[in-house]
């Protein structure tokens, strides 16, 4: 601080007067206060309690045959459940990690190799990839194909070709019994 005899002149231009100190701290408190007042309004646009409450779904797997796929809804998004055949599992497990843009072993993506469970939303811009129904294109790698911007996924839902940066997301799920799961 400036000396007591002549605080105004001695500290001039140095930015260290009492007045400037008060000005800066008051300004900083105003910013903190404004941010504190704005945050509840911004946060009100985040998912609300009732939206969060819908965030788990139970699925009975028993009617699904080998090679068959079903689509269910979880948090408003499609979830793909595919009961893979031995050949599909083998292809997914034998793919070298070096071939993958987003390297991940098949083992890391499934609880039981037979059941592949994925969020059916392309990681590029959110379209629903094709490949669930018979007759739909499954892309060059036998998994899924996104028609919007041309991303190809393999039999483990991993991105192989196209603009999508990541593998199809695996939702959190647990096996409740051998034939039913809880997603979320």
């Amino acid at each position: 601080m400036a000396d007591g005899a002549n605080p105004e002149s001695s500290a001039q231009g140095s930015g260290e007067t009492r007045r400037e100190f008060l000005y800066l701290t008051a300004g900083a408190m105003t910013v903190v206060g404004a941010a504190g007042a704005i945050w509840p309004m911004i946060d009100s646009m985040n998912p609300s309690a009732d939206v969060l409450a819908l965030s788990s779904t139970e699925v009975d797997l028993s009617p699904i045959e080998e090679g068959q796929s079903v689509t269910i809804t979880w948090r408003g998004k499609p979830v793909f459940i595919r009961r893979r055949g031995a050949e599909e599992i083998a292809i997914a497990e034998e793919t070298p990690l070096a071939d993958l843009p987003d390297p991940q072993t098949d083992d890391d993506r499934v609880e039981k190799p037979e059941w592949l469970i994925l969020v059916g939303v392309c990681t590029h811009l959110g379209c629903v990839p094709l490949g669930q129904k018979t007759g739909e294109s499954r892309g060059d790698y036998g998994g899924w194909f996104c028609p919007c911007h041309g991303s190809h996924y393999d039999t483990s839902g991993r991105i192989r070709k196209g603009p999508a940066p990541k593998n199809l997301e695996v939702p959190p799920y647990v096996f409740l019994t051998d034939n039913s799961i809880k997603i979320g």
Partner: protein, 403 residues
């Protein structure tokens, strides 16, 4: 010719709130260059479109329900049951397109005649802000009918923000108010679609204040030097603007009554289905060039940056174009490249409407590269080296008399 009155009431108001004299100055005695061509009509046409959108939009909002279970049907009810609802909605739909037509011509006019150059940089940048706000408003408006294109357009565009590193996913969840595009998204888009047009009005006011500070550019791109170079706004340009409006409305009525869905997409008459993406998603025509740029880059973040960069580059255009000559009339090389740029932009629009496969991808990459080449290399580096501008006339008055 400043404002004078003998009316005591008008004078009483005038002494307290100079509204009438402001209006008089702006719409009556305001000096305009006397050599303007019809390309200078599109500013007022855009203003007319904005007012039309706000008026029809408010009426539509009285009948529309922003809820995922009711939105689609409430729009169909407007079309079938509400008195003249079909007319008001078709005006709103088609005027959105005509608003963009007017604004695109307005922008190209500015590019050709160098209307962005000193001292009009802020005027130009305010225009770019209006353009961005228009795009946001149009996008959110297209979501409201809750058809298939509404839903999947909203999904794809909001997912653009997920390309932002680290916080992208949280931002998208925040935009949605959930884990996918759903009712909270529709509600907030409706609120913002109602709000943004009024923000556009505010920026338009600033745009006009800036315009009246620096005055209009003109086809010669030289300044007005005195009263011999100008005409008063009333009656010369009021009548010219009104005549142009008549022509504009004839074309508009053609679309409105004979082809009201020509510029739309039939998939949007299918109710939104979150489990099925249409085979071919396309945005409205006015977004197609930017959509082509987005898809041209094979990397997610790169594509998003290129798309926003395509508009950001307009912000700095006044400093990229280093020529002191405004009008392309006197720039023999820039003029040729202007037309190439325009054709390239139309070509990008064509490509944006095609699926992202085969030669379309390569063509979009070349056209995108050319778009940025024009602004970042041609204007600041190449043209100053090779172009020799022609001689400017000494005044507008002299040039007008000669022709």
């Amino acid at each position: 010719m400043s404002f004078k009155t003998n009316n005591k009431v008008v004078q009483w108001v005038e002494d307290r709130l100079p509204l009438i004299s402001m209006g008089h100055h702006t719409l009556y005695e305001y000096p305009m260059p006397k050599n303007l061509n019809y390309l200078w009509n599109f500013g007022s046409l855009a203003g007319f479109a904005l007012v039309t959108m706000i008026v029809t939009g408010i009426i539509l909002a009285m009948q529309y329900t922003p809820h995922v279970d009711m939105a689609f049907n409430s729009v169909e009810r407007i079309m079938r049951d509400v008195n003249n609802g079909w007319l008001i909605r078709y005006i709103h739909m088609n005027m959105a397109s005509f608003f963009f037509i007017a604004v695109y011509i307005h922008i190209m006019r500015g590019l050709y005649y160098g209307s962005y150059k000193a001292p009009r940089e802020l005027l130009w940048q305010l225009g770019v802000v209006i353009f961005l706000l228009m795009m946001a408003t149009a996008f959110m408006g297209y979501v409201l009918p809750w058809g298939q294109m509404s839903f999947w357009g909203a999904t794809v565009i909001t997912n653009l923000f997920s390309a932002i590193p680290v916080v992208g996913e949280s931002i998208v969840t925040w935009l949605w108010g959930g884990f996918s595009v759903d009712n909270p998204t529709l509600n907030r888009f409706f609120a913002l679609h109602y709000l943004l047009p009024f923000i556009i009005v505010a920026v338009v006011v600033l745009h006009i204040v800036a315009l009246h500070t620096v005055t209009s550019n003109n086809p010669l791109g030289i300044d007005m030097k005195g009263p011999q170079d100008s005409l008063t706004f009333q009656p010369y340009y009021t009548i010219k603007d009104l005549f142009g409006l008549g022509v504009f409305l004839i074309l508009f009525a053609g679309f409105l009554f004979w082809a009201p869905n020509y510029m739309g997409h039939p998939d949007n008459y299918i109710p939104a289905n979150p489990l099925s993406t249409p085979a071919h998603i396309v945005p409205e025509w006015y977004f197609l060039p930017f959509y082509a740029i987005l898809r041209a880059v094979p990397d997610k973040l790169g594509g998003v940056l290129a798309m926003f960069g395509a508009i950001a580059v307009l912000f700095v255009l006044p400093w990229l174009d280093r020529s002191k000559i405004r009008s392309c009339k006197f720039r023999p090389v820039a003029r040729v490249f202007f037309w190439i740029f325009l054709l390239n932009g139309l070509f990008l629009g064509y490509l944006g409407g095609k699926p992202a496969e085969g030669w379309y991808v390569v063509a979009s990459q070349i056209a995108t590269a050319y778009y940025f080449f024009h602004f970042l290399i041609l204007l600041p580096v190449i043209l100053p080296m090779i172009e020799r501008p022609r001689e400017l006339p000494s005044s507008i008055h002299e040039a007008v008399l000669k022709s």
